[in-house]
Symmetry: D2
Subunit: 150 residues, 4 copies
Amino acid sequence: MRRISYIEDFTKWREEFSFSIPIRIRFSETDMFGHVNNVSPFIYFEEARIEYLKSVGIFNNDSSNEGIPIVADLQCDYLKQMYFQDSLELYVKASHIGNTSFDIHYMGVNQNDEVCITGRGRIVYINAATGKPLPLKNEIKEKLGVIITR
Amino acid sequence: MRRISYIEDFTKWREEFSFSIPIRIRFSETDMFGHVNNVSPFIYFEEARIEYLKSVGIFNNDSSNEGIPIVADLQCDYLKQMYFQDSLELYVKASHIGNTSFDIHYMGVNQNDEVCITGRGRIVYINAATGKPLPLKNEIKEKLGVIITR
Amino acid sequence: MRRISYIEDFTKWREEFSFSIPIRIRFSETDMFGHVNNVSPFIYFEEARIEYLKSVGIFNNDSSNEGIPIVADLQCDYLKQMYFQDSLELYVKASHIGNTSFDIHYMGVNQNDEVCITGRGRIVYINAATGKPLPLKNEIKEKLGVIITR
Amino acid sequence: MRRISYIEDFTKWREEFSFSIPIRIRFSETDMFGHVNNVSPFIYFEEARIEYLKSVGIFNNDSSNEGIPIVADLQCDYLKQMYFQDSLELYVKASHIGNTSFDIHYMGVNQNDEVCITGRGRIVYINAATGKPLPLKNEIKEKLGVIITR
């Protein structure tokens, strides 16, 4: 398998995922080359990221003194083509959990248990009003950590 | 040519357009059937509609006592396939101008002067705060009318 | 309720649906106005239409002497805003079944049992090689009819 | 400015771009957070990449013994929010030109000369029939190099 900068040991990396959502590939997300368009994995990452952040408790929190998560960067490695009728399971986990930010790693697996896409991106937790980075509460860090390791 | 419910005389209908914008078809707007996806014309209608409404002065008006335009319905007739490298010109005109609403008609023409798509949809002008229909000012009606007939 | 040209009796029209699929609204399908973008219902119509056509047996049929279904036109009436976390159920049924074509009607209902969108569009069944309209087999007509009336 | 892994000296990196295309942000590419959705930059990268590859002569080449370019990975750093009415110029250049592959770097600049997004991704040149990597011809390597350095 191709070397991917954010994955040291692929088997170990893959085993660390526990959270996932199913992705139903839309027909409009294919392109004239006959398979899923290169842009579409980032749509799937976003779907999975939001569900994950909701599970951790930092998406769409209504209490106004809380922070919001911002995507600082995103990347995707295309390992195998995906097709319209594929059943895709999108896995998500946290990594490199810092004081005000953390990484999210992504893995998309098709119905034949083949990893089609991997990815990662940094989430920065900021104060919505000031735009300044905000420390992640311990309970959130714990949730991010627990979800990784269990 | 196929009968289209909102077009009585196609030659006359086509001649009444004067406002248009060029559309650059995105690669991601094609699909696995090799041409532009059936959803994409509605993206192009939206692009052209917004530019038209801006030209008439009723899009994104900042004065808070003004109304906003709402799309009540939309329809598209697919006359000819469109392809990635096509140059599409999207024409827009107003029609059936009422007291608080009007229709917008759409026509997409490719580089060979072939009409690929036609469409229409009702715009209702409402008070953003109350959601109630709001009478169109005479100056807006005039602009809608002038653009049709010149 | 607003008058919609392709619906005579709304209660009766709604009762005739039996086929549906759940739609998971993608975050990227919202827009800066805070709700689901006006283009997105046509993505949902396409998802539901394909599943319906597969159930009837005329989507992606590999036998090369068979026809393919083509979308001739599409329309959508926007009755109620849809939002990111909404659970949408998209209903589909056939109507006006002719020799080589038929209509598909669409209805999107949210988690509060509110009809947010309705729509319709003509499907023409053609020979993929020649582009000519092809008669629908009786077994397909029956499936289209059965699904309506049961 | 934040540290970006694929940029050593930002001023020098920025100066090396010469090829660009204008991007018209579509309304449907915004999201309910009020600005351009995180997925959309990858649509813009694709638009600019295709135009660049066409200029170099390796996109949609019809001669069947030629190769095709495949996207191996993509990444984007989000430096500044983009908004609906922004005028975005998307710059592209080649980098790390190897025997059968090369990187493309991306930079999106708004109407205030602010860099909103940067990115990169590997392009692998393959034989469309066999899927095997194919050596880039010298004339293509030269075009990739020339466009970087002039």
